[in-house]
Structure formats: C-alpha cells, structure tokens
C-alpha cells in the first residue's frame, strides 16, 4: 500500500508542477499595450497643431471630442473628403458644440506627411471643418497611444474622458464614394445617441482604410 501511495503522490506532484507552470503562463497579460478602448479612459495626448498651438486632452475635459486620423493620399480618406461626407459631419457636430480634431500621424518621409505650412494649405483645399488646424503627430506618439491603425480611424471621447466609440467611420469598406448614402455611419449614430442621452449603439468596429504611416 505504501509503495503505490508514494508513487501516486509523486505523479500527482509532477502533474501539479506542470499544471502550475502553465497557469503562470496563462496569467501573464495577453498584451501590455493599452490603447483607446471603448468604456475606458482615453489616453492622454499633447500635440502641436499646424499653427504651432499645443492641444491636449485636458483642454477638452468636460466636453465631447471626436478624433479623426487623416492622410491626404489615402483613397479611403479621399472617399470621405472627395464626397464632402467628412466635412459635412465635422460641420454638423462642431455646430453642436462638439470638438473635432483631425490628426496626421504620418512620419516625415512617409505618405501623407505634411509640414505645418502645407498642412494649412491642405486644410484650406480640403475645406476642413474641424475645431482646429490639423494636429501634427509626426513622431506617432498620439497615434500609437490611441492604437490608431488606419486612416480614417475614428474615436469619440465623452465629457468624462471615456472613449465611447473606436473604429471605422461607417460600415462599408468600399473605396467607392457612391456607397456613402447607403452606409451606416457609426460616428454620427454614436454622437446622435449620446446627445439624445441614449446608449451608443455600436461602440467598436473594424477600422477599415489605409494603414497609418508611422
């Protein structure tokens, strides 16, 4: 009896050891990267805009803020600017006291990178209706903090500083502007619901578009 007792204990112990090892492995966080996640606090940012003014998250405390990632050469950005869709959204919601910042995270030498003077020109030619000039996130810090993957990647931050939406502008990843009238605009839906005091219907989606050129 004694002999098999110690044997079985040994096998239990070795099995337990293996098992314990695997638990330690599973307990490690899957990803250490914290990015802007709906339902959580928005990451801080502080970036210089095309006129040289610094804009930070805390400047917008207590207010609604929309962030939009931009690259003038991206076909998907063109889809929404060429059709006037993005500018119309900017106009509609900035008129309702909602802040809207358009961010360029392209690194120097990469597609979509703009010097401050060029950025002012592009804003002019694109009829940008945001709350301020383009934010120039040339080092990509803000884009990476938010986990901005594509242009146009959209984020909505509520007055409490929480992210309430992250993802694509709408549900149609065609590059063809003709599909816009038939598309479900997630950003407009989220803002309209929020302003009406209702829950945001869709809080997250796959951000379609071109990769951000960090």
């Amino acid at each position: 009896m004694k002999a098999q007792d110690t044997r079985s204990k040994r096998s239990v112990r070795s099995w337990f050891g293996q098992w314990f090892g695997s638990v330690v492995l599973f307990a490690m966080p899957a990803l250490a990267l914290a990015v802007a996640t709906p339902g959580e606090k928005a990451p801080d940012f502080s970036e210089v805009d095309a006129t040289g003014e610094t804009r930070s998250l805390k400047d917008y405390a207590g207010q609604w803020l929309v962030l939009e990632w931009f690259n003038k050469d991206c076909p998907y950005v063109r889809k929404h600017y060429g059709s006037g869709n993005m500018q119309a959204l900017q106009k509609k919601y900035t008129d309702k006291e909602i802040n809207w910042l358009t961010v360029i995270s392209s690194a120097k030498g990469k597609q979509g990178y703009l010097e401050p003077a060029q950025a002012l020109e592009v804003a002019e030619s694109h009829k940008l209706n945001a709350s301020g000039p383009f934010l120039l996130d040339t080092d990509g810090n803000m884009g990476r903090a938010y986990g901005a993957k594509t242009t146009p990647h959209m984020f909505i931050i509520n007055p409490q500083g929480d992210v309430v939406y992250a993802g694509a502008i709408d549900d149609n990843d065609s590059a063809n502007p003709a599909v816009i009238p038939k598309s479900n605009n997630f950003v407009a839906a989220a803002l309209d619901a929020s302003l009406a005091g209702q829950a945001v219907p869709v809080t997250s989606s796959r951000a379609y578009g071109c990769s951000v050129k960090y």
Binding site: Q4, F16, W19, G39, K149, A175, N176, R206
Partner: protein, 698 residues
Amino acid sequence: MSDRLSCSQSTRRQLSGVLLGLLMFLLFVPAVSAQPTASGDHVSVRWLAPETFAQGPETIGFYFEVDPGWHVYWRNAGDSGAAPRFDFMGASGDVGEIQWPFPQRLPIEHLTNLGYEGNVAYLFTVTPNAPRMELVVSLEWLVCKVDCIPGYGNMTLSRPVSTSANWLSQDLELRDQFAARVPQPGTASTPLWSVTSVSAPEREESLQLVLAAESTGKDPAAPEVFPLDGALLTAAAPRVEKNAREIRYTFERVPGAAVPPATGFVISDGRRAWQLDDLPVEVSAGAGVPTPVDTGQPLWLLLLAAVAGGAILNLMPCVFPVLSIKLLGLVGPGETVSGRVKEGLRYAAGVLVTFAALGALLLVLRAGGAAIGWGFQLQSATVVLGLILLFWVMALSFSGVYEFGHQLMNLAGHSRGGAFATGVLAVFVAAPCTGPFMGAALGAATLLPAYAAMAIFIGLGVGLALPFVLLCAFPGLLNRLPAPGPWMETLRQLLAFPLYATVIWLLWVLGRLVGESGWLIGTLMMLALVFALWLGRHHFRSSKWLAWALVAVALVASFGAVHRLQQSTPAAQNNPVQTTEGWQPYNRVAIGQAQARGQAVFIDYTAAWCITCQVNKKLVLESDDVEALFRKHNVYLVRADWTNQDPEITRALAELGRNSVPVYAWYPPGAQTPELLPQILQADMIEALFAEDESSER
C-alpha cells in the same frame, strides 16, 4: 501614388454606369467579347472558366494576377485593407457565393493583413440555364504594398453551353489549385483537429480557441487559424501554446469589441483548410478555475447528507466484505466490551484521518487551482494497480488460499490489531462507490470555503465509521449476531467472491486508463503473486527469499510499467471513449451547436471506475426503450468520460455544482440550464422527461 487613379474615380464611376447599361443591352447579342478582363495599377483580372460549359454546375473564378510585392485581400481583410467585391449585374444561370481560398498573414508595418501575396483566384459556382453562359460583373478591389490603390472594373463572360465542359488545361489546373485551398465546411471537428472550446476572458481583451489534434502521428504541427470576424479579432498572429495534443490560440480582441454569442474561424494545415462557423463563445471569468461560491444549501443539510452518504457506503459491494469480516472477528470469545470499543474507535480514527488527509490533498490542489474532483485517486493507474494488488491479496486470503501471518492480514481484519488500518482501507475501497447523497455533498465540498469543505469530508468519515462504532459500543446489538462457529469460515469464503469481482472490474479500469496492456500487466502481477505465495509455502532452501524477490520484482516492474504507460500516453488518446452508437464524446462546442440547433441535450458524466455509472448505463441508458425514446426525440447524447483526469469535464461538473460522477444533465430544447437527474437512474425518470416535454408543449 494613387493620385492619378483616384482623381478619375468619380468620372470612372459615372462612366462605368453607362458602360454597364450598354453591356446589359448587349448581353444577348452573340459574340460579345467586350471587357472579358479588368485591370488597374499592379493588378489584372481574367476569367478562369471553361471554353465551353457543360449543363451542370461548374466552379469558375476571377484570376487576379498581382505584381510581385503587392497583395489583395481575403474575405476578412485584417487590420486594414478591404476584401474585393463582386457585384453580379446579370447572369444566365445560378451563381453561388464567392469561395475564398485560405489566406496568409501579411505583416504590414504595425498591422497585419489577411490576403494573398501574388496571384489568386476567387472562385464561385455557376449553373447555366441558357444556351450560352453569360455573366456581367462589376468588380472593386484594393491592391496594397504599403500604400493602397483601389481598382474598379467590369467583366463579362460569354461562352457556349454544350454537353461537356472543355477547359484549357492550364486554366483547369489553376482552378483546381485554388479550389483545393478553399475551406471545406466543418462543424466543431475536422479530420485533423476538433474544437475543444472558444472562450473570452471577461477582463482581458483576448479570445481563446482550443483545438485538439485528432491525428495519432507524432507531434502534429499547429494549424494556422484565421478569424472570420475582423470586427471582433485583430489579424495579428495569435499566441500559440501546445500541450500534447491540445493547442491553445490566444487572439487579441479589437479594443472594445463586444463578445458575440458565436464566431467562426478558418483553420489550415498549409495545404487544405476547413471553415468552422457558429462556434459558441463562452465568457469566462478568469483562467477557468471555479472559485468558491455559495452553493445555496445550508451547511448543516450538506453535513447531514454527507453523514447519511457515508453510512450508506457501508453497504456498498466494495466495502461490505471487508467490514463484515472485521466485525465478525470481534465477536469471538475473549473479546471484552472495552476492547471492542477501543477497536471501534481505532477503526473510526483510521477512517477519519484518511478522509481528512484526502480532503486536505483535494483542498491543497484546489487552492492551487487544479481542476480535479473526488475519485481522482482512481484516475491514477498506479493507484488502481495498488487496489488490484490489495483486493487480490484479500480475496486470496478470504478463500483460504493463504493464511497471512503478517501485517497484511490485519488489514483484512482477522486479528485484533490493525483496526486503524482497516479504517484507512475502508476509505480507499469506498472511493469508487460514490453512493446516493454523496454527490451533492462532495460537489459542495469542492466549492465551499476550506473549513466547510473539510467539515463535509469529516462528515462522510463519521458516516462511514458510525455503524461499526455503534455495533462495537453496544454489545446488545452485537449479541444479536449469530454465535461464532464454523459458518464464519464459510461466510468468509463466500465474501471472497465480491472481492474477485472487484479485481476484475479494477483490471477493466486499468485497461481503460493505460490501454490493452493494462490487462496484461495486472494479470501478470497477480500470477507472480500467487506463484510467490506457493513458493513461500514450500520450505525448500531459500524458497522464501526467492518468493520475496519475486514479489519485489513483480511489483516494481508492474508499477513502473503502468506509470510509464500513463505518462507517455496523453489522456485524450489512451482512452478512446467508447463511442457507443449515438453517444458523442464531451465537446463543449458541439454541445453548444446542438443547443443552437434547438436539439435537446442529455449528458452522461461517467467514469469506468464508477460502478453506479456503469449500472445506470447498462440498465437504463442503453436499454432499448430509453434508446428509442432518445432517438424519437432527436436528443443529442453526450458521454462525458471522466475515467482519466480531464480538466474540461471537471470544469463542466463544477459548473453543475458537482465534483463526482455519476451526474446526469438534461437540457430540454432551448434550455441553457440543465435539470439534474438522480444518481440512481430508473427508466421511468427518462420517460418523465419527455412526458413533461410533451405536456408543456400542449
């Protein structure tokens, strides 16, 4: 880069509208060959179709020839990009869904895309219903290197339909090459892998898919897994952990993505692929370890159940022979009352100490988070072999083959000493005989806080020891037993037979644990033992030493062999679940799918070493009437075999508030919470399930 192209987008769109109208108009004019191809920057598209169509369905496709270094996309494009779109404007036949060959992961700077580097064919089936096969399709695609360029085009196809298909051989080859890469439909299992679970930890932004390899080959490679839902999971390669045949993929969820009730994947071995749709996703609280919870029943009630259950164990076939002999040993002349009481208390101490020790071991393992349950002793082949040895020696002694003059005899309860050891033995032999009342109490014990769990274990011990102690303490009771005499020897010999039966059953358990060779090893050990006994009885010179040596060698060899066998064969494989016709092995995903189909589900949580389970199985579950009932009501039958340690089944049991077998769980169609049936089944209980079912429908 794409300025030129995109500037002309809107005009091109308008133009394409006009063109399409024109094409539709021209559709039935013979010999139209306008735009059989489409092209844009870095891409040209042509048909993969036969020169002449046959009458029946044919798989054809769009062949994308893509410049080196550029890529086009899969149905789920991944972190950026977009799948191509095929808009069928007109067709002289039935057109099927687009079939997407399995993709590759394309790391693009900080993102991962799912697509194809180089040429690819997007396939679909058509069944012509006119003399010519005509198609007009509007295409949109995105081709990317780092920068992306959208492309648009219209393509027409017009080919004759005849008696047989006539392909250009190189096109047919291309078609077949990509058709082989189109995922085959799968359910929860494919020929190479089956899905064990899909779960999403509540607090982490991840999702885990666990696959079990079906193949018996050595160290099967982990397949690539591609998520179908890009809004749920990022395209980044999942973290892969392999543990024997189990492969665990941890995907990163899109930040903030809500966990849907079900999701799908495509898995591929690099040559072929399978599509797994609608896999139910469980939201798990943590690492999947049940935490102590309130079982909802008052502790005193559970304790009462434990004591009652323990008392009933005395009547179980594995315990009864041992105890009755021990008891009869106390009736003999010259036994004083105080001596008997002492014996009884020693026995009780043995029982309680063993229960406490087992309880403590279970609690320690539980605190470590181990998914184990009562009966875990019998999930070890070495313990089972030990019990075979024990029961064999006891049975031989009961039969009078051998008079033990040493310590072992005390275990079997012949002489005065060893009552403590008898208590220890009683607990060990009782383990497989989980009786009524014990299930709920033991289940609770694994969920309750440590002190309450220990109280339940002690309660079981008290119950087991109580009848014996009472008999010892009250000589009046003992005196009602017949006077000692030669009949005791006869009874002892008779009681050897349940012990032999137990040996046979344990050999069967061993076979289930380590495979066929378990029988051989067990019986050889038994043979060696009997031979050693025979040698020991004949006093030739040094025969005793020989006998001892033989015993030692037999024990070392057999225990070593079963231990190695169990270590070397992973649980999933050495225990080919006896898939009796109609019964499926336990698979959480398949069960979820059956429930989603609206099927009723019956789960038989069982183990080879659980006698109650085997009796229920033979007498009730596999009786003709019950089988017919199950078939008639299209019940999804699951046999959750817990013979070997299986964390999935342990977890499922814990969710039911149990930690022992048998458990019978019945999920009526559409129900998510089961009804638990009694541990001793009757056929009419199963009939009642359907009677209720029918009356509630009316």
